[in-house]
Symmetry: C2
Subunit: 152 residues, 2 copies
């Protein structure tokens, strides 16, 4: 019997989430998963947790945090006032890949977007993440856009 | 002397913003700028206006609304807890293009993202908007990502 669960993240999950963000070809240059965690991570969690339109999710197996993603609900005039669900910071723990957990996590997230009345779920993924491209296309996402970033 | 100004949108700007969203090869199929405006647009404006992390901007010239964009500030654990500024729904009125107004509006928006401590400004643009691609690249944005959308 699987003990896998998906729920909103708590402060005690932050270190495990940052470890997953860092364990990645792009993330390893950007993150610092060393303990004690940088206060910036704790402050960012508090900001997410205090924002009624932001939700950080974790997938757990017993006491292990094995996946994460973040959903931001965005009201907008375009799409006839349609709400969007933006998904960021998606990870499945390296030792648990290939089990379909990412798909399960994403289907849960898409359901949350439906529950909030979103017209669109959107995300961007680095051009170098070719496995991710196939994953999103299998889930029905269309690669209709270019994602631009400007570092400040 | 130019009377051009950029400010946060008010309820009285909604019809002009929706008219710009609709006056566009992609927008004309998606929006309904007919008056009286659909209640969904008014509800979406109220949701944006009530969200401390969402800002809808207009560029005005006297009484005319001649440009718009929306900024969403997103806290996140990734990027060492770095905040992102997401820009959506960018338009300059058709009769005022070619005057550099889009650049002026964008530089203002990027300044707002800096003031809020964003590490990154990000946006997606449809692959068919080739003029927009050149515009963002001139502003220093890097086309590093693919933008995926799933319609619900």
């Amino acid at each position: 019997m699987s003990a896998i669960d998906i729920r909103w993240a708590r402060e005690t999950d932050i270190a495990a989430i940052v470890a997953m963000l860092a364990d990645d070809p792009l993330g390893q240059a950007r993150e610092d998963a060393g303990l004690p965690l940088s206060q910036a991570y704790l402050d960012a969690f508090a900001a997410i947790d205090g924002d009624p339109n932001q939700f950080l999710a974790v997938m757990t197996d017993g006491d292990d945090v094995i996946g994460t993603l973040q959903i931001t609900f965005i009201a907008g005039l375009s799409l006839r006032g349609g709400r969007r669900g933006l998904i960021e910071a998606v990870r499945v723990a390296a030792w648990r890949r290939g089990e379909g957990l990412g798909q399960r996590l994403f289907e849960w997230a898409i359901d949350k977007c439906r529950e909030r009345g979103c017209r669109v779920v959107q995300l961007t993924t680095n051009k170098s993440r070719t496995d991710a491209h196939r994953f999103y296309e299998r889930l029905g996402f269309k690669a209709s856009h270019i994602g631009y970033k400007l570092e400040l």
